[in-house]
Amino acid sequence: MPLIEVKNLKKKYAEGEFPTVALHGVSFDINNGEFVAIMGPSGSGKSTLLHILGFLDSQTSGTYHFDGKKMQDYDDEELARIRNKKMGFVFQAFNLLPRTSVYENVLLPLVYSDIPEENWDELVKQAILSVGLESRMHHEPSELSGGEKQRAAIARALVTDPQIIFADEPTGNLDSKSGQAVMEILQELNERDNRTIVLITHETYTAENAERIIHMLDGEIERDHPVTNRKSAKARYEK
């Protein structure tokens, strides 16, 4: 059973004078442990799709099964619980809380979880360690470089040990070196922990870190193919 099962997903925005159609009916599956990149130019509907997949938005029509259950069957509170427990989010703009230490930022999802408080400290430290930010644990975001900020954000996404990580242009605000480092971490999370990763990007070289690329254009899937000559981020960086 695929982790994500999308059938004829449509999304219309009724706001404004002219209704905009963001998704024209897309269908695909994503299996557990896959690393999928959704690629396309701006306006192609890739972000809308990610928002629906991440329960942050809902479709106008079509069905979306996550982990075998229809999205419409969950109420708002259950959606929030699943976002907390099974999903992790990494954003282009990091979205770390200002004037709050890396430690406190990474801790944030635990506050909304049912994980007992006595385990929090260990989970937070583990997540920070896994992105190699232990020396920055008590620094505030304003004291971090862009790459460090994104690594902190990844640690925050990891702290509840989610099944799937949604990364929306995670390298968009980073220089190529920091971008590579972030991609390496995502690959490692996929390969080592068998975590499903859905990556949104408009850059081919970033998308090629994934195992499979879904190309989007004007709200439709243009192409869906595996990456044949996939290189690990580390190998390319060393070259």
Binding site: L56, A80, N84, F89, F91, N95, L97, R99, Y112, T160
Partner: protein, 411 residues
């Protein structure tokens, strides 16, 4: 819901905007401080009055001329001349008022007293020897006038401490002649310093009521007649007997036509209590208006804060916060803000109340006691927390309703 974290988050956000938070609650602080101060002063005033009235003794009944005042316009009735010597004699008869231990008529007035070249305006109390016991006015030097002085229109007088200071300075006034209305009165005693109370004895002089009526006021009526009963239990029956005796003496059959009224210390306490409570309540409600104004300011700032933290709200939702959790967080923030305001307000109000008690005691003769306004403090904190709740709900709902995508996109 991890409350510890919710409160910690709220405190952090209040601390980040420290000066804004403080300015926001300035209105609350002033409002709560006013309420606390007013209630503290109100309770102090009541305690003061109670202390004064209780000093008169609970076994005394005062009979006053005129009708009982029911409105400010009625005060003119107080100057009625209905209480005469024959009434005093009727009240003294055991068959009329068996509960009565003693009956003392009082005449009151003010006039200029002089000694040598010095003059001073004094209050004059004309009564019997019993006034010493009833109002606790024993002379500290010299003697008091006797019942013989009363019977014989004796030109003797006992003066208050301030009168002595003003007219005699360092001289011993005993035996000297005090001149009032062209007549000389021999000073036989001086009262100790008493401080201001219901009556200001420091600036007063006491003399036989017969003398006062005859030589100073030229009247034949009394300003009040005090009846002291044997025990407190007899007050109720004594009042009935006093009323019947006076109606009989005045030829009144319809009690609604009474030209006198009876007052006990309990009546005075409750009447003054009603006045101070009403005044306190009025002032406290005025102060409460400033709390409502403060509440609107808090709502305004919370709305600004919600807009500023749109991204944060979006993020919290994305990582699993429910609408309810977002709402509670902002509500707690508003309540914490107003709670802190309330606490600071109580602190300020209590300090001001302490300060005013100190000033009153230091610079006036009134013995004012500071009373910690527990009711005012609880009311102030309760009201401010409620205001946080009431004015925090709308901004908190706005926060909870934010769409996470829009919120994350917000720049």
């Amino acid at each position: 819901m991890h409350w510890k974290h919710v409160i910690k988050t709220s405190l952090t956000s209040l601390r980040i905007n420290r000066s804004r938070s403080l300015l926001t609650i300035a209105g609350m602080i002033i409002g709560v401080a006013s309420i606390t101060l007013i209630m503290s002063l109100g309770e102090g005033a009541q305690a003061f009055i109670l202390g004064q009235v209780q000093g008169i003794g609970s076994r005394t009944i005062a009979v006053l001329p005129g009708r009982q005042p029911t409105s400010p316009a009625d005060t003119a009735q107080l100057f009625s001349d209905s209480l005469k010597q024959k009434d005093v004699e009727a009240l003294q008869k055991k068959e009329n008022v068996p509960e009565g231990e003693l009956v003392m008529p009082i005449v009151l007035g003010a006039d200029t007293a002089s000694y040598g070249n010095e003059t001073y305006n004094i209050t004059l109390f004309g009564a019997t020897e019993a006034i010493q016991k009833i109002l606790d006015v024993y002379p500290s030097s010299g003697n008091f006038y006797t019942d013989d002085d009363v019977r014989q229109y004796g030109s003797v007088i006992v003066i208050g401490n301030k009168v002595k200071e003003k007219l005699f300075a360092d001289e011993d006034p005993i035996g000297k002649k005090l001149r009032i209305k062209g007549k000389n009165f021999r000073i036989i005693g001086v009262l100790p310093k008493k401080g201001s109370g219901l009556f200001d004895f420091d600036g007063a002089a006491l003399l036989p009521y017969t003398t006062a009526q005859q030589y100073i006021f030229g009247t034949k009526f009394f300003n009040r007649v005090v009846v002291q009963v044997h025990s407190e239990d007899e007050i109720t029956s004594a009042i009935v007997n006093i009323e019947n005796t006076l109606r009989d003496s005045h030829g009144i059959t319809d009690p609604s036509k009474d030209d006198f009224f009876v007052e006990t210390p309990a009546d005075v306490i409750s009447r003054l209590g009603v006045v101070t409570s009403a005044l306190t309540l009025l002032l406290a409600s005025l102060a409460a208006i400033s709390l409502v104004v403060g509440g609107i300011g808090i709502m305004n700032i919370m709305l600004v804060s919600v807009t500023e933290r749109t991204r944060e709200i979006g993020l919290r939702k994305a990582i699993g916060a429910t609408e309810k959790e977002i709402m509670i967080q902002f509500l707690i923030e508003a309540i914490l803000l107003t709670f802190i305001g309330g606490m600071l307000g109580v602190l300020l109000g209590v300090s001001l109340s302490l300060l005013s008690a100190f000033l009153v005691n230091h610079f006036s003769t009134v013995a004012w006691s500071f009373i910690f306004p527990i009711r005012g403090a609880l009311l102030g904190i309760g009201v401010s927390v409620s205001i946080g709740l009431i004015f925090g709900i709308y901004p908190a709902k706005q926060a909870a309703k934010k769409n996470p995508i829009e919120a994350l996109r917000f720049e």
